[in-house]
């Protein structure tokens, strides 16, 4: 009898083929009450995944297509003068939903970007002096195309920190691709998806994930990892305390998804690339050797025991 977590993963997995790890990461991020950044080329299933997540988790869903002419008000909402009542009526923007897909966030101006990011951080929106809370749970999946593409406004590093995780979806493998080509339209499948839990359950799971046990040995390991990023010269700067906390939070949720009541180093390792890679930068004078990503090197340099 699969639990709600397995069902959720299976549900999203039926739409987004062969991406179980990424789905689990997204779910981890959600359970940790964090926001997710998906960085990939167009057409890799970013939208599909977020839509599917919203469906199985039974969350209200809105998609905001970020374009260069998008204004903050288009995201947050506007007060419009109502002739009948003679008052200003607030028309909530698309951000007022439980799961918001902020598509191609790097296409819009920094001004609109920061409107979204502020709302993400504060979980409320202040317009014309009035503060309006965003729904609970509130979960933003932002997507962005790799920065090399023209006409984009890449998110500044300080803003990237607002996202708990950053993942890449990548191409599907051959098997998945074949199924995709042969099978029915994913959109149809998507429509058929049944919710696996309700909002209250989701919140309960979020609370439970926070209670996953973390031993001293594991904290040692996390500290060693963090310490390494601060000391080793290949890192331009080390991981911030917020980054360390994020790592711990995600490791807990991952362990929860794995149906474990304690965190093991493998949990940390599973989430580490997604949690730290957008928070670190390679030192300028250390580029050019070693092909593996920064986080991968971190994992193979810091031992689990010691």
């Amino acid at each position: 009898m699969p639990g709600p977590m397995e069902e959720t993963i299976a549900g999203v997995g039926s739409v987004l083929l062969g991406k179980e790890h990424q789905i689990k990461l997204a779910l981890t991020c959600l359970l940790s009450r964090g926001h997710l950044l998906i960085e990939d080329l167009p057409g890799m299933g970013k939208t599909t995944m977020s839509h599917a997540l919203a469906r199985v988790l039974n969350l209200s869903y809105n998609r905001i297509q970020f374009t260069s002419d998008l204004l903050p008000a288009d995201v947050l909402g506007v007060s419009i003068y109502d002739k009948d009542s003679g008052e200003f009526n607030f028309h909530p923007g698309p951000i007022f939903s439980q799961l918001v897909l902020a598509d191609e966030i790097n296409r819009t101006t920094p001004k609109s970007q920061s409107a979204l990011l502020e709302a993400m951080e504060e979980r409320q929106v202040t317009i014309e002096g009035q503060t309006r809370p965003l729904p609970i749970p509130f979960f933003v999946i932002a997507t962005q195309n790799p920065n090399t593409h023209a006409g984009t406004f890449p998110l500044p590093e300080s803003q990237l920190d607002r996202f708990l995780m950053r993942i890449e979806l990548g191409y599907p493998d051959a098997v998945a691709e074949r199924i995709l080509l042969k099978g029915e339209d994913r959109r149809v499948v998507l429509e058929r998806l049944e919710p696996t839990m309700n909002t209250r359950q989701l919140q309960a799971f979020q609370d439970e994930a926070e209670q996953v046990k973390v031993s001293e040995a594991l904290l040692d390991y996390i500290q060693r990892l963090v310490q390494h990023t601060r000391a080793a010269p290949e890192f331009a700067y080390g991981l911030s305390p917020r980054g360390a906390l994020a790592l711990l939070r995600c490791a807990r949720s991952w362990a929860f998804i794995e149906n474990r009541h304690h965190v093991v180093p493998e949990d940390v390792q599973a989430v580490l690339p997604s949690v730290v890679e957008h928070r670190l930068r390679e030192a300028a004078d250390f580029s050019g050797h070693g092909g593996s990503a920064l986080a991968q090197r971190l994992l193979t340099k810091v031992d689990v025991i010691g």
């Binding site: 080793a232 030192a283 300028a284 004078d285």
Partner: protein
């Protein structure tokens, strides 16, 4: 054009056999942790004198039949032996990591960053490292777990440069023994040609349509006055000056017409290869400083005009490795 000419301390490499032996014993690697296989240790000149001192002391002890003189001599002899262990310890377990490198222009010093790293409680003091035995740089690893050290190596000729094996040695604590190692961190950098000021900007062979790019007469930047010539646009006549002096002058503007400049090998006919490259290099720097778009044409190489740091690096690299033999390039990549 030989990269070994760029190896600073070539005397050390007299013996190829020693080199081969070292290569087998310590293959090149970006990260090397020193252990007994890699550390050599021998007494220093001071250590030899110290041993002689001990011999004198023992002789004094014998002749004076003085037990405490013996004791002192033996204490110093034991110190000598113990210092071997300490000097060895002061290298063993040390990890050396290759860091980044900064390219240089021939004749300047290329910068190599290496990192020393220690494990746990063991500390290292008074380490000396460098590629040139006479120019070693000191480093301590006491409170810090890791230190970055920038080392500079003199360059002579352009091309890829591999500084060879890095000498790391220490005499600490008592200077009676020297332990050392030669590690190949597999680091390399590129040495650009040394820029030589070349009078005029090399205008352009007409081999390409987009080639005609620098025009003296532009419209943007005021450049100077010259005598009016038939056909000059009236717009450019310096009327104010004419009113004052009665002399008809034309305002000259300069601009890089579409600001896309080709730096061309053929601009310096008659010069030898290095001279040409040096002058091209000079112009690369010049044009980059003024934020122009420029491209490069060498026999067999063409880089389309662009601007920015990466572009500059690309062009400089092309200049650096131009006609450098294949195997040397492989070494760098």
């Amino acid at each position: 054009m030989n990269s070994s000419a760029n190896t600073p301390d070539s005397t050390v490499w007299r013996s190829t056999r020693f080199r081969q032996w070292l290569d087998r014993r310590m293959p090149p690697s970006n990260a090397i942790t020193l252990d007994q296989k890699k550390i050599f240790i021998l007494p220093t000149r001071e250590g030899v004198f110290f041993s002689l001192l001990i011999v004198f002391m023992v002789l004094a002890g014998i002749n004076y039949q003085n037990s405490l003189i013996f004791a002192l001599a033996f204490l110093l002899a034991s110190l000598l032996m113990v210092s071997i262990l300490h000097t060895y310890r002061n290298l063993s377990g040390l990890t050396i990591l290759a860091g980044g490198t900064l390219p240089a222009f021939a004749g300047e010093d290329a910068e190599f960053t290496v990192m020393l790293s220690r494990l746990g409680a063991r500390t290292y003091e008074a380490l000396l490292l460098g590629w040139n035995r006479d120019l070693l740089q000191g480093a301590d690893l006491l409170e810090d777990e890791e230190v970055k050290i920038k080392l500079f190596v003199e360059t002579r000729v352009r091309g890829p440069m591999n500084p060879g094996r890095l000498l790391i040695q220490t005499n600490y604590p008592v200077g009676l023994f020297r332990s050392w190692t030669w590690v190949d961190l597999d680091m390399s950098t590129i040495v650009y040609p040394s820029p030589v000021p070349a009078g005029d900007i090399p205008v352009v062979s007409a081999s390409s349509d987009e080639g005609k790019l620098l025009a003296r007469e532009g419209v943007e930047d005021f450049y100077g006055l010259r005598e009016y010539q038939q056909g000059d646009p009236l717009k450019q006549v310096a009327w104010k000056s004419y009113a004052r002096t009665g002399e008809l002058l034309t305002k000259q503007f300069s601009a890089f017409a579409d600001r896309r400049i080709w730096l061309d090998w053929e601009s310096y006919p008659g010069m030898d290869r290095e001279a040409r490259l040096s002058r091209l290099c000079y112009w690369v720097l010049k044009l980059d400083a003024t934020n122009n778009e420029y491209g490069l044409r060498l026999p067999g190489v063409e880089i389309t005009p662009h601007r920015g740091v990466e572009h500059r690096e690309e062009i400089l690299k092309a200049l650096a490795i131009f006609e450098v033999e294949e195997f040397e390039l492989e070494q760098v990549s």
